[in-house]
Structure formats: structure tokens, C-alpha cells
Subunit: 110 residues, 2 copies
DNA sequence: CCAGCTATTAGACATTGTATAAAAACAATG
DNA sequence: CATTGTTTTTATACAATGTCTAATAGCTGG
């Protein structure tokens, strides 16, 4: 199996940031809702899960299960790991550096 | 053939931003150099070309050829199209919105 | 016309993005 | 206690991106 990349993919960033925004861990539906809420982007829930699982394999997040409150299956709570924070930080710096250019500053319409 | 996605991929953003920074179009080697210069990221030149070509297919950039100055083959000069600027804008807004959270502002342990 | 440059294109293959369908697991019900 | 209803997670699958190592293509000067 291949190795992970040095930088987060576009959607990985979205999912990881949404999880980070939750503050203290979160599970599928919460993360999905956070993405929709913060960005208006309506992606399928499994898309979120599969990305989470891949990021876990890379050590960017970790997870544990929790008994469900009402009915339904057990929850899988995800948390951002230090490696994940670092990746986020790198991505941020990357784009901040790239956007910092005289040719890109003035917000012009189309 | 598949359709394009709604958001730019991670590397597409990098390449498109590097091209935009050049101000008035640029070709392979220049874009490659700009990426290295602005971000320290040393990717292969073909990686840049293939991404450029895919973005051209999607209408994000356009290209024309120019006679070479010294020796060597003709250059292919790329320019950011309106559609490309819009995509860049969308990506920027997406991440600005996601990063705007109380949980993400303070610098945490690295 | 052949060697030597500078640039671009061809493939190839692993990783990501993203959806549809299927399965789990617990609670209430009769 | 089997059946159904909820809520949530996993399995799969496949298209799009990321990224590399060759292979070409065109000039120019001997």
C-alpha cells in the first residue's frame, strides 16, 4: 500500500478543519453538519467517514467508540491528533504564502 | 470522461496560484520555479504540466505557444482564465470560512 | 546532419474524492 | 423474544488528482 502525501488533500482539509472546529471531538453526523453549516457544502456522510478512516490510518486523527444515547448504533468519536494539527498548520502556511502576492491582493470582480 | 469537481484539488490550487503570481502568464519552468520559490516545495516539472493540461481542459487556464529565445523547443505559455480566478476565489473563501473559528485561532502546542 | 540544449508530452500508477447500497446495533412493542 | 424502527457506521466501487520516470520534440552551433 502506498504512502501518504506530504500535504492534505482538499477534502481532507475540509473534514479535518470541521472536526477541529467542533472543539472536543465529534462523530460522523456532527462533522457532516459542521461542514454544511460552515461552508454550505452538502457532501454525503460516507464521504466524510471514508476520509476520516484514511486520516486515522495516517495518524492525523484517532477514534474511540461511545455508547449511543437514544436508539441506534454506537458512535465513533474522532479527535484531531498532534500530527493532524501540524498538517493543518502546514496547509495553512502554504496557502498564506501563495496568496501573499501583489497580483492577488485587490479583490476584483470577474 | 468524468466531469470536473466543484473545488480545486490541493495541487491544482498551488499551480494555479503560482501562475497567477507570475502576473502575465508563464510557462512550465517558470511556474515550477515559482512554486519552489514561494513554497519551498520541489515537485517534478511534469507534475506541473499535467496539472496545467487538465486545468486547461476544464477551462481554468488557456495556453498559446511562443517561439523560444535561445535554443530549445517552443514554449507553451499559460494564462489564468476568468473561470480559474473564480475557482481560486471559491477555494479561498472556503478555507477562510473554515479557519474562522475560536478553536483554531490560538497557536497551540506544535 | 549530429550533438547538445531547453521544453514539453506520454504513460503509468498510487492516493483522494465522493456516491450508492448494505449492515450493525440498540430500543421499544406487542 | 422476534419484529420493526431509528440512528449510525462500514463496504464497495469508480472517477479525478497527485506525481514520477521515461520518451519526444525543436532549435542552434559546429
Amino acid at each position: 500500500m502506498g504512502d501518504a502525501r506530504e500535504y492534505l488533500g482538499e477534502f481532507e482539509q475540509v473534514v479535518l478543519l470541521a472536526l477541529a472546529r467542533l472543539g472536543d471531538g465529534g462523530y460522523g453526523a456532527e462533522i457532516h453538519a459542521e461542514i454544511l453549516d460552515a461552508t454550505g457544502r452538502d457532501v454525503s456522510i460516507p464521504a466524510v467517514y471514508v476520509t476520516l478512516k484514511r486520516m486515522e490510518r495516517k495518524g492525523l486523527v484517532s477514534s474511540r467508540t461511545r455508547r449511543p444515547t437514544g436508539g441506534g448504533r454506537a458512535l465513533r468519536i474522532y479527535t484531531v491528533e498532534a500530527e493532524g494539527s501540524r498538517a493543518l498548520q502546514r496547509s495553512r502556511e502554504l496557502f498564506e504564502r501563495l496568496w501573499d502576492s501583489p497580483h492577488l491582493d485587490p479583490g476584483q470582480a470577474s
